[in-house]
């Protein structure tokens, strides 16, 4: 799957995107975030409070319990501030 990070998530995690295999047992964005948090202090800091985050799968806003599939493009970002 392709993972994208935007705004301050990008800064804290230290990268814009990465490609990895969806780990076994990870079926939702909520579970994915919990797993990502174990990958290092940058991830743990950036993802510590899910209420400050939003998630999109294949370029559409989704909820934390959305059903992930292998090959999905998952983007994590703070609430948007456009316009």
């Amino acid at each position: 799957m392709r993972l994208l990070y935007f705004a301050w998530l990008k800064t804290k995690i230290g990268k814009t995107e990465e490609t990895l295999d969806l780990p076994a047992g990870i079926a939702t964005p909520a579970a994915l975030v919990d797993w990502l948090k174990t990958r290092g202090p940058g991830f743990a800091e950036a993802l510590k409070d899910r209420r400050t985050l939003r998630v999109a799968v294949n370029r559409r806003h989704v909820g934390w319990d959305f059903a992930l599939k292998p090959g999905d493009e998952v983007a994590l970002f703070p609430p948007v501030t456009g316009g």
Binding site: F6, A7, A75, P79, T81, G82, G83
Partner: protein, 150 residues
Amino acid sequence: MIRVQREDFDVGFEIENLTRGKTTIGGIVTFVGTVRDPGGANAIMAMTLEHYSGMTEDELTAIEAEANKRWPLDASLIVHRFGRLLPGERIVLVVTAAAHRTAAFAANEFLVDWLKTKAPFWKQEETPQGTRWVEARDSDEQAAKRWAKG
């Protein structure tokens, strides 16, 4: 029509290009969002807009279609810039044209409220104290909620 671009846009040209020859139009409403420098303790020197290329275009296309479903518009346009912008520079353009002004006004406000809360753009400000990411405003969330269908 929607566009996401780094370059500035020409408001007069865009309106003219969108509405020329359409004699069923009676009212054209235009919103231009600009980089504001509040000054004083909140002064900013510049702002950088990051966006999620691909998703942004999809989302703008979808919301424009939704506005055209909700109101009888003769024409509509959204242009949103990204990149580094200085105070006073244009960020976003929304044009809505309809036979009657009420539809043009309502659709325009709907689109602008939506852009503030759903379009995948993030603003980073350069201030005398350093750079900071702009936080989402609760007033924008409230403004967007008034369009929710019951």
